[in-house]
């Protein structure tokens, strides 16, 4: 087992932008680190650089104490699980799992013992003599895992290993992988674009965007204290509502107003975002997670903390209802804000979409006006020009 350290790592492709730009990241020994970000953010490139499948343009990569920039993949003592599993189609499960050991010229009986141990751990014992094509997706996934653990490597690398499974299996495999990692205690680097996986699996999560590391933090901190607008918008599902709003400070009270609405912000939010005080009379980006709303009858707040919107769409999810509405302000156009505004010029005209998550007992009709109480003490504030939080 070993730590993995990125020191000023960059990856530049010929006549392309940097896929990874000056990455500094320390993954501790035995840590479960998740790299997350939208497609093209450089997370897979970073992983493949650890594996040695991509050359490193700049910087220094260490596994343990060893600088591995020039070490070929086979000599790095790492194992990788690929998105499409990359099983050897012509080999049985046993041969697939044992291939690395066979290449390393381990004794036959030793190979058999270790393959059977790994199969036992993953519940694959009865499939050992089947070919991959005779296995289901979940079983193939486990064979790929078996191929990784049988070598007892220093580091596990996983490249979106669950994205080809159906939703139910994905949840199950997710917990299996967490338990496996906890039991083996091996350093794990896990790449995903699914922020739910990132939040549930990692000890720490590294959020990347366009090759640049945005924030590394334990999942909950990432959620509660996003380092910038991008992390705020990316983590959480449905995503955080980001609204451009005017700030007015009247004595001790702070008000935000946008599209004809006006909300009084609880002083607790000011404790978390003291920078807001200096923004009197300016615009900020006001962030509200969907669960920061409740139906007015469920939450006792003052009238000045209620937002009245017309429901465009109500998605009943069972335990909760998602209310989609639009407030009449242009969506924030700052770098890092949700993609919709960047790609779709129409959205600028159409106003900012807001999603509220309220208790599932409510029946809400489309087109109906709803009064939403806002937990203003939990709100976030960002600079409209840089996207930085107003801490």
């Amino acid at each position: 087992m070993a730590a993995v350290t990125f020191n000023n790592i960059s990856k530049r492709y010929k006549d392309g932008p940097k896929a990874v730009d000056d990455l500094n990241l320390e993954i501790a020994d035995g840590e479960f680190m998740v790299l997350v970000g939208p497609s093209g953010c450089g997370k897979s490139t970073a992983l493949r650089m650890i594996a040695g499948l991509e050359e490193i343009s700049d910087g220094e990569l260490r596994i343990g104490e060893r600088v591995v920039n020039e070490v070929p993949p086979g000599d790095r003592d790492i194992a990788m699980v690929f998105q499409n599993y990359a099983l050897y189609p012509h080999m049985t499960v046993r041969q697939n799992i044992g291939f690395a050991l066979e290449v390393a010229k381990v004794r036959k009986d030793e190979i058999n013992r270790r393959v059977e141990d790994a199969a036992e751990m993953l519940g694959l014992t009865e499939y050992l003599d089947r070919l991959p094509k005779a296995l289901s997706g979940g079983q193939r996934q486990r064979v790929a895992m078996g191929r990784a653990i049988v070598r007892s490597p220093q580091v596990f690398l996983m490249d979106e290993p669950l994205s080809n499974l159906d939703a139910k299996l994905r949840v199950q495999m997710r917990s299996d992988i967490i338990q496996l990692q906890a039991r083996l205690g091996t350093t794990m680097v896990y790449v995903t674009h699914d922020q739910v996986e990132a939040m549930t699996m990692g000890h720490r999560v590294a959020v990347m965007r366009k090759g640049v590391l945005q924030q590394v933090a334990p999942p909950q901190e990432l959620y509660l204290r996003p380092a910038n607008l991008f992390v705020a918008a990316f983590i959480g599902s449905p995503a955080m509502n980001l609204i451009t709003a005017d700030v007015t400070i009247e004595g001790d009270d702070v008000f935000v107003s946008f599209g004809g609405h006006r909300l009084r912000i609880s002083a607790k939010a000011l404790d978390r975002y003291p920078g807001l005080r200096e923004r009197n009379g300016t615009k900020v980006i006001f962030g509200l997670r969907p669960e920061h709303f409740a139906m007015e009858e469920d939450l006792e707040v003052g009238d000045d903390q209620v937002l009245t919107v017309r429901c465009d769409l109500a998605e009943a999810m069972g335990a909760e209802v998602h209310i989609h509405a639009v407030v009449d302000v242009p969506p924030p156009a700052v770098d890092g804000a949700p993609i919709a505004a960047e790609d779709d010029p129409e959205a600028l005209v159409a106003g900012t979409k807001v999603i509220a998550r309220v208790d599932g007992i409510h029946t809400i009709a489309m087109g109906q006006d709803v009064r939403l109480a806002v937990k203003t003490h939990l709100t976030h504030f960002f600079d409209p020009a840089s996207g930085a939080p107003l801490r």
């Binding site: 998105q83 499409n84 099983l87 189609p89 690395a100 290449v103 094509k133």
Partner: protein
């Protein structure tokens, strides 16, 4: 099977389709069937009328059936003679006979034992010759006839009733024929070239062809795998340029290359040598292209996984890529086999001293079936021998054409 269209119109279309397919199949298969059956025929059996697809021999029955000892006796019939129904065994092909011609119908011939007939004492002049007049038995009636000829002929015994026998000229009887393939066509055509035994020397050519074909196919497979893999997955300077040049060589027709290649073979002293049939054909741009395309289609992750498992390039190639490329290798082997097996013109040019020891099958067959050929059955036997291996190879390899195992390890 999916749900098919129903109704009378759909049925009619389906029936018409099958009728058409069957017709085409018959047209295609018929010449092949003629070749195969002819290979088993006797030479005398090939041009009989009406023609028959079934190889036949002259029928015999065991000698004991007609109360004799020794070899089986041939069986004949008399289709023109209503008074001699059924089959007749020729028990003596050299019986002494006399031909009589009745005086009232000199065109007719009555064949009888040489001792038959009684002289009436009269004579008659036939074409200026004095002939005795005999009184002979003609189907029960006594007629006057003269003895036109003494000859030898056959003593036939009825197969149904061995006590009945007749004498007649053998060529008045029609030999009965039965199914009888002649397998010795094959041994004769394979045997060493020898006018005494009718050997045609195809065996030696067959050995040469098998040798040449195996080596050419092996060479093509190995060079194409190595080249194809390099072009598909190994980064090196000038890769695409070299590949384009290599691929461009496919466009050069072989006829253009014959003279330079011949010169080259002269220089290295390979004229009239089997090596000249092997080495120039152990490399194929087409095969390299085929393997390259196939290797490109194998997901890079499989190779990367092997790389992470610590496998070297050669381990990856032979233990991972090659087993996955079996369909492409089978295709390549089949094409290489057919090409090497059937190639005619180049062997004709380079194996040109008439030395039969270095001849290949296509050359030997062409001389065997040449203008002066008389042994049609042997020509066809040689043809069938030459046809069989490619057919077997195709049948064996075809399941690989459809199989594509490369993607099944993925999602």
């Amino acid at each position: 099977m999916s749900v098919r269209r129903k109704g009378p119109k759909a049925t009619a279309i389906r029936v018409a389709t099958y009728v058409l397919l069957v017709c085409v199949a018959v047209v295609v298969v018929f010449p092949f069937a003629v070749a195969v059956t002819t290979a088993f025929k006797r030479n005398t059996d090939i041009f009989t009328y009406p023609p028959s697809l079934v190889p036949k021999k002259e029928a015999t029955i065991p000698a004991a059936d007609v109360g004799l000892e020794g070899d089986p006796v041939p069986v004949y019939s008399f289709p023109d003679r209503d008074d001699r129904p059924g089959q007749w065994a020729l028990v003596d092909g050299d019986a002494s006979l006399a031909e009589f011609r009745p005086l009232d119908d000199l065109e007719r011939v009555i064949v009888l034992d040489v001792k038959a007939g009684e002289k009436t004492g009269e004579t008659i002049s036939i074409d200026g010759e004095e002939e005795d007049v005999y009184l002979v038995d003609d189907g029960g009636a006594q007629v006057e006839a003269y003895r036109s000829r003494l000859t030898s002929g056959g003593l036939f015994v009825s197969v149904d009733d061995p006590s009945t026998s007749v004498l007649d000229l053998v060529n008045f009887a029609t030999p009965a024929r039965e199914f009888g393939p002649r397998f010795s066509n094959f041994t004769e055509v394979l045997a060493e070239k020898d006018p005494e035994t009718n050997g045609k020397g195809v065996g030696r050519s067959l050995t040469n062809t098998v040798l040449v074909t195996i080596l050419v196919v092996l060479g093509q497979i190995i060079t194409s795998i190595l080249g194809g893999y390099a072009f598909a997955r190994v980064q090196f300077k000038g890769r695409s340029t070299i590949f384009l040049m290599y691929l461009g060589s496919v466009m050069i027709p072989f006829v253009v290359l014959i003279i330079p290649l011949f010169q080259l073979m002269l220089q290295v002293n390979w004229r009239d040598n089997l090596v000249a049939l092997i080495i120039p054909f152990a490399f194929t741009a087409y095969g390299t292209f085929l393997m390259r395309q196939f290797f490109l289609g194998i997901p890079a992750e499989i190779e990367e996984a092997a790389l992470l498992d610590g496998a070297s390039r050669s381990t990856i190639l032979w233990k991972v890529m090659v087993p996955l490329a079996r369909p492409a290798i089978a295709t390549l082997a089949t094409f290489g086999f057919l090409y090497a097996w059937n190639s005619f013109f180049w062997p004709l040019v380079i194996i040109n001293s008439g030395n039969p020891d270095n001849a290949v099958l296509s050359l030997t067959l062409s001389t065997l079936g040449g203008r002066s050929s008389t042994d049609t059955n042997l020509v066809f036997a040689g043809t069938v021998l030459a046809m069989t291996p490619p057919i077997l190879v195709f049948l064996f390899a075809q399941r690989y054409f459809v199989e594509n195992s490369a993607s099944s390890g993925l999602k």
